[in-house]
């Protein structure tokens, strides 16, 4: 089963849940798709097995052939090209590597070459394989990194730590998932964001369930939302200053506390069961 853990906004505990689930499973793979700022490895502390570069294409110009016609400058919708007398400037970070300028150049002065846009580190922790993707700062998109990262998905068990938000990076991670675990905070903000990611899972046609995190006494708008929208609540984690402290130091709860080890083992079983049921429907 491939489980994506989502939250809509940052800071709800998505990474905390992902890394602890992965650690307690001790099999399959953990995939950190928050490629702008990956944090999972801080908790899992994997031993490094290998590193790969993720490359994209960039156009390179042969100025001997370029006659300053500016067809490329005008055609590029991202405005990644600029021409000043004697020089065609190409801005790699704005370029989306679509290939249009190279195709259009009447003088065939443009050629595409590889450039590095990010890295993927693959490591291990016991029987768990840990995969971390990191995007170079300033790049226009992290989607190619996530794509490459998820090529090694383990069909038996994969925990996919999704990026925050609801943009194309998140869509890319959900695409490969069998089931989505939505982590929600007990505030109005949390409920709002839960609604956002819930909508995403509906559009992408993925079964989903909720984990209520940092729960305090009193009204829980996220719980209400889940009940009103027939979203199964798989578990509830009360706010715990001990857990907050340990996590702020990037410590795994399942290693520091028997109570949490039990909790996450049960959660894992719940999630896998739900995912299996959903797959059969």
């Amino acid at each position: 089963m491939k489980i994506a853990v989502l939250s809509g906004k940052g800071g709800t505990g998505k990474t905390l849940v992902s890394v602890n689930l992965a650690a307690v499973a001790d099999k399959g793979g953990y995939f950190d798709c928050d490629v702008e700022e990956p944090n999972g490895h801080l908790f899992l502390k994997p031993s490094l097995i290998g590193e790969e570069e993720v490359t994209s294409l960039k156009p390179v110009v042969d100025m001997d052939r370029c006659d300053g016609c500016k067809v490329c400058v005008t055609a590029c919708v991202y405005k990644a090209l600029a021409y000043i007398p004697g020089e065609l400037m190409i801005f790699d970070e704005i370029c989306h590597a679509c290939g249009l300028c190279t195709y259009l150049c009447p003088q065939q002065a443009l050629k595409e070459t590889k450039r590095v846009i990010g890295t993927i580190r693959r490591g291990g922790r016991g029987s768990l394989s840990v995969h971390t993707g990191k995007m170079r700062i300033g790049e226009s998109t992290g989607v190619p990194i996530i794509k490459k990262l998820l090529k090694k998905l383990d069909d038996d068990l994969s925990i996919i730590d999704s990026p925050p938000g609801s943009g194309c990076l998140v869509l890319e991670t959900i695409e490969h998932a069998d089931y989505c675990l939505l982590v929600a905070e007990p505030t109005m903000f949390g409920a709002q964001n839960l609604a956002l990611v819930h909508e995403l899972t509906r559009v992408m046609n993925k079964p989903a369930g909720v984990l209520l995190n940092k729960v305090e006494d009193g009204l829980n708008p996220s719980e209400l939302y889940a009940k009103e929208h027939d979203l199964k609540i798989l578990a509830s984690l009360p706010y715990d200053s001990y857990a907050a402290l340990e996590s702020s130091n990037a410590e795994l709860l399942v290693e520091r506390s028997e109570k949490y080890r039990t909790f996450f083992l049960e959660l894992l079983k719940e999630v896998v069961d739900e995912a299996t049921l959903a797959a059969q429907r």
């Binding site: 800071g11 702008e36 679509c98 290939g99 925050p164 505030t187 109005m188 903000f189 702020s248």
Partner: protein, 284 residues
């Protein structure tokens, strides 16, 4: 118009809660939510009388006219983003990046680029207050353009404006920072939070926007709070205070009550911070 921007680097540090309190305490008449990926500010501001919206357009996306399509497959071959399906040949909008390569190669001119609404820019007003925000369609991300448009709507609408900024470190953050008088960083005491804080401070520096820092939920990890304080001292960044974790904050938000009215340790801490922030602004 003086502008105060709240930033956090990573999400979930309590930036929006602090922003709301500061809006109330300073009685700011103009405010904006630049955190368009997950706008939250409207949830705690109450109702407004007047609303106006306008569409926000991203790059035009390709559309294939099935009547003109001869199914030659060239568009599918050239598309680098896997955005064109075969049988039938259609563009998947959320994957299309608008590059126009397909339109250039299509031999039957079956592909056109059509304006795509990626979101809505909203303006809400009541008596002398102006609130600017935006919502995005699924699959679209915040851009510098969108943040710029949201900020434009409150320009000169009051003497003092508070902006709830975008998380992260990219283009939307840079657009949030442009032209702002003071950036207040709301940090949290965690390892991941600290590295995000450093990156966002760097962005503010490069744009010559003075920054100051507060730590929210400071008692979750006093050691890391201390580390942030020391970092600020070393870098000569004003450290304006800490806010303890306070479950009253959650109760207040959820019941639509102002945290300031409700009181409690977090409320007290924010009052003190408000005082210091206003002093920083006056000194500029």
């Amino acid at each position: 118009m003086k502008q105060l921007l709240l930033l956090s680097g990573k999400g979930g540090t309590g930036k929006t809660t602090v922003a709301t309190c500061l809006i109330q305490l300073s009685q700011a008449k103009a405010y904006a939510d630049c955190d368009v990926d997950a706008p939250n500010l409207h949830l705690v501001l109450g109702t407004f009388e007047n609303h106006s919206t306008k569409p926000y357009y991203d790059l035009p996306k390709a559309v294939i006219d099935p009547d003109l399509c001869t199914e030659c497959g060239l568009c599918h071959q050239v598309c680098r983003f896997d955005a064109i399906t075969r049988n039938p040949y259609q563009v998947i909008p959320h994957l299309c990046e608008g590059c126009t390569y397909c339109a250039h190669v299509c031999p039957s001119e079956a592909i056109t680029l059509e304006e795509t609404v990626a979101g809505t820019i909203e303006l809400h007003t009541r008596s002398d207050e102006t609130f600017s925000t935006a919502t995005l369609k699924m699959g679209s991300g915040t851009t510098g353009l969108l943040v710029t448009e949201v900020k434009k709507q409150i320009k000169d609408k009051a003497k003092f404006a508070i902006l709830d900024g975008s998380p992260g470190i990219g283009c939307p953050v840079i657009a949030s920072l442009t032209g702002v008088d003071l950036a207040l960083m709301v940090a949290e005491p965690s390892l991941s939070g600290i590295s995000d804080l450093q990156r966002v401070i760097q962005s503010a520096r490069q744009l010559h926007v003075p920054a100051c820092v507060i730590v929210n939920k400071s008692d979750v990890n006093e050691e890391l709070t201390g580390r942030i304080r020391r970092y600020c001292n070393e870098e000569a960044i004003p450290f304006l205070g800490t806010i303890p974790y306070d479950k009253e904050a959650i109760a207040a938000i959820n019941s639509g009550q102002s945290l300031i009215e409700r009181g409690g340790p977090a409320s007290e801490a924010i009052r003190a911070i408000h005082h210091k922030v206003m002093k920083e602004l006056e000194a500029l």
